[in-house]
């Protein structure tokens, strides 16, 4: 594929607001996870919650869209000078020439959960204040971002569970290649809700401790919340030596099971191969792999197999979910931003909460953060439904 410049990016999650705070936390291998105190959840699990959301005021002209996920998006858009950079991009390209491709898994479902609690005892009707279009519908998040940034280009929401905000990079790259738009905002948000907390609990996939990716005692995920956004543009002339580039996107399906990954990681391997192929790179060109690494028994075992088959055991890799928790639909953009930070700052992020590496897993898993030359990073996002996506991100042309 034609490489694209990632000219601006923003992130917020339980490690902090903005790339500076997230980078510091990764360097120090700090985790943002804490025992679950979300809403009325009575579950023995840890989460990466962002308390600031509960006080946040949605921009006045978009009050109809007020819900936790759109607040999350707004908080993300306000980090790292992203909204200002988008105003400048809008001047440059025109509002109709910038696409908005946003990912989310749960959108504003929390709002619907709360509305169900306040049903009329007689008629069972939802309260009149319930705004389906602006909160529950999966597109509400894309609609909110499009309006927040004043953009009028092509837009939709991708909702493919935990690969959503990785896959939007592919949608944007195709739309730009086809000339439907000249630039695109990608990213998205996911927030804590009772559906995912109780749902993953029912599947026995949540850990009672902070999640420990690749640990011999790993026993499940910790849910988190967060948002991230990136501006993708076509390179204008020669690419600067420090430019952040999207080099490749690879997508695949498992064709195996709705909630369990293919045991040999066949779909995962195919996504990584396709991302490398799109970037015209070989496995040896990758300096660091940011793994999906959810800390379930099956994900980490399958992903390890796929990585070792393709890369051997010499490419440093780690999951950062012990630090951020699993951000579900927002995992892709969060880990894309972490991959950019790793490449920009020569950082190989260690794995918070992982005490030792499972001897059954054969990849070169990083327990501790260390500095190293990092030019090309591959990042994995895999979701329910066997939806896989890998991105290759690099520095310079």
């Amino acid at each position: 594929m034609q490489p694209l410049v990632i000219s601006r990016f923003a992130t917020v999650n339980c490690l902090g607001a903005g790339t500076g705070a997230v980078l510091d936390a990764l360097r120090m291998k700090r985790s943002g996870l804490a025992p679950c105190d979300f809403e009325t959840a009575a579950l023995d699990t840890w989460v990466g919650r962002i308390p600031a959301l509960e006080e946040l005021r949605i921009r006045r002209d978009l009050e109809d869209y007020d819900c936790r996920s759109n607040r999350m998006a707004q908080l993300g858009l306000e980090q790292d000078g992203f909204t200002d950079a988008m105003a400048a991009a809008r001047e440059r390209y025109g509002a109709a020439r910038i696409g908005v491709f946003i990912g989310t898994s749960t959108s504003g479902i929390l709002e619907t959960e709360l509305a169900y609690r306040r049903r009329d005892p007689q008629t069972r009707a939802l309260p009149g204040s319930f705004r389906y279009h602006a909160t529950q519908n999966s597109y509400s998040l894309g609609d909110f971002v499009r309006r927040y940034l004043g953009l009028t280009g092509p837009s939709f929401v991708v909702s493919s569970a935990c690969s959503s905000t990785a896959k939007v990079f592919g949608n944007a790259a195709r739309m730009i290649a086809a000339g439907v738009c000249d630039a695109a905002v990608v990213g998205g948000a996911d927030t804590l809700c009772l559906t995912t907390l109780y749902g993953f609990h029912s599947l026995e996939l949540t850990s009672r401790r902070p999640c420990r990716p690749f640990d011999p005692d790993r026993d499940g995920i910790s849910l988190g919340e967060g948002a991230g956004f990136a501006l993708l543009e076509k390179p204008a002339g020669l690419v600067a030596s420090d430019a952040v580039m999207l080099l490749g996107v690879g997508e695949s399906s498992d064709a195996y099971h709705m909630s369990t990954p293919h045991p040999e990681g066949a779909g995962a391997k195919l996504a990584m191969q396709r991302a490398l192929g799109a970037a015209r790179l070989g496995p040896a060109d990758i300096d660091y792999i940011n793994l999906h690494g959810t800390a379930t028994r099956t994900n980490d075992a399958a992903e390890d197999k796929a990585v070792v088959e393709l890369f051997g055991s010499a490419t440093p890799c780690s999951s950062t979910k012990g630090a951020t928790g699993h951000l579900l639909g927002a995992a892709g953009i969060t880990e894309a931003v972490i991959s950019i930070l790793a490449a920009q700052h020569g950082l190989l992020p260690g794995s918070a909460h992982t005490r030792s590496v499972d001897p059954a897993l054969k990849s070169d898993y990083l327990l501790d953060s260390r500095e190293s030359r990092v030019r090309r990073v591959l990042t994995n996002s895999f979701g329910f439904g066997g939806s896989n996506c890998s991105l290759v991100i690099g520095i310079g042309g």
């Binding site: 389906y132 609609d143 909702s159 592919g170 559906t195 109780y198 029912s202 399906s253 709705m258 329910f384």
Partner: protein, 265 residues
């Protein structure tokens, strides 16, 4: 952007398959409203067949009809799924369960609650490891899917399937988001004219509002506006008439898609 239509699948109120519905859509036979008849999916293994909800069955049925008439291998073809609501029955069940003291969410329901459930079951049913995407764009979900599908065909220069579907919500959600009559539609599209292709679709994103193309049959028009996936009907009618027509599909606020459909037989 241009794509060639090789196969179509269709299920909706009174519309039992694309081939059975062509004469009705072309206006040669009268349209009669009837509940959507969704066949059980023969494609899925027994365990998955038990777990799959209505939207999954709908998506699989129309997708399979489109591939059968296109004569393409589904396992070798990328697919774009699009739906405004996904599985509204599951959303209701889960939200209802979360109001009970036990909050005993069913693991199967939770697993099937993801918006890409149809894409996941499709991949299992067809053994396809090719990429899929699962889109939502509220009332313009079909338009968004058509745009993404045509873009993939143009950029990746290979055939791509589009599968759009929507199911009504049960109460109390139905009052907040009224959708009627299950509706599913699928296209298999190719970058070049082939022995199988029968129409060319030219698609353009237009960044301003324009009145969308209505249907002249009042009963069909009522179907079109009552289900996001049925917003595809003007395209289906143009395909059924086998001539050359232009259709305006409403897209996101302040934008529309200009679609030219021309027979290429």
């Amino acid at each position: 952007m241009r794509a060639y239509v090789e196969g179509v699948g269709l299920l909706g109120p009174g519309l039992r398959g694309w081939h059975e519905s062509r004469a009705v859509l072309a206006g040669a036979e009268p349209y009669r409203v009837a509940p959507t008849a969704i066949p059980p999916s023969e494609l899925l293994p027994p365990a998955e067949r038990r777990r799959a909800g209505i939207p999954v069955k709908l998506a699989l049925a129309v997708g399979w009809e489109a591939f059968m008439s296109a004569g393409r291998d589904a396992a070798a073809t990328a697919a774009v799924f699009t739906s405004s609501s996904g599985d509204g029955e599951i959303l209701h069940q889960i939200c209802d369960t979360l109001t009970t003291p036990e909050r005993g969410v069913s693991p199967t329901r939770f697993m099937n609650s993801v918006h890409n459930a149809a894409a996941g079951y499709w991949s299992i049913a067809t053994q396809s490891r090719e990429p899929s995407t699962s889109l939502c764009c509220y009332d313009a979900s079909f338009a968004a899917g058509l745009l993404e599908c045509a873009t993939q065909v143009a950029v990746d220069a290979r055939p791509v399937a589009l599968i759009a579907y929507d199911q009504p919500y049960p109460q109390p959600l139905h009052a907040a988001r009224p959708i009627s009559g299950e509706f599913g539609v699928a296209f298999v599209m190719a970058p070049e004219a082939t022995r199988r292709s029968f129409a060319a679709i030219d698609l353009e994103f237009m960044p301003y509002d324009k009145a969308e193309t209505p249907l002249s049959d009042h009963a069909l028009e009522a179907v079109r506006v009552s289900n996001p996936a049925a917003r595809s009907l003007p395209v289906l009618v143009a395909l059924a008439r086998d001539g050359a027509e232009e259709v305006v599909l409403q897209y996101v606020a302040g934008a529309h898609l200009h679609v030219r459909i021309a027979s290429c037989r």
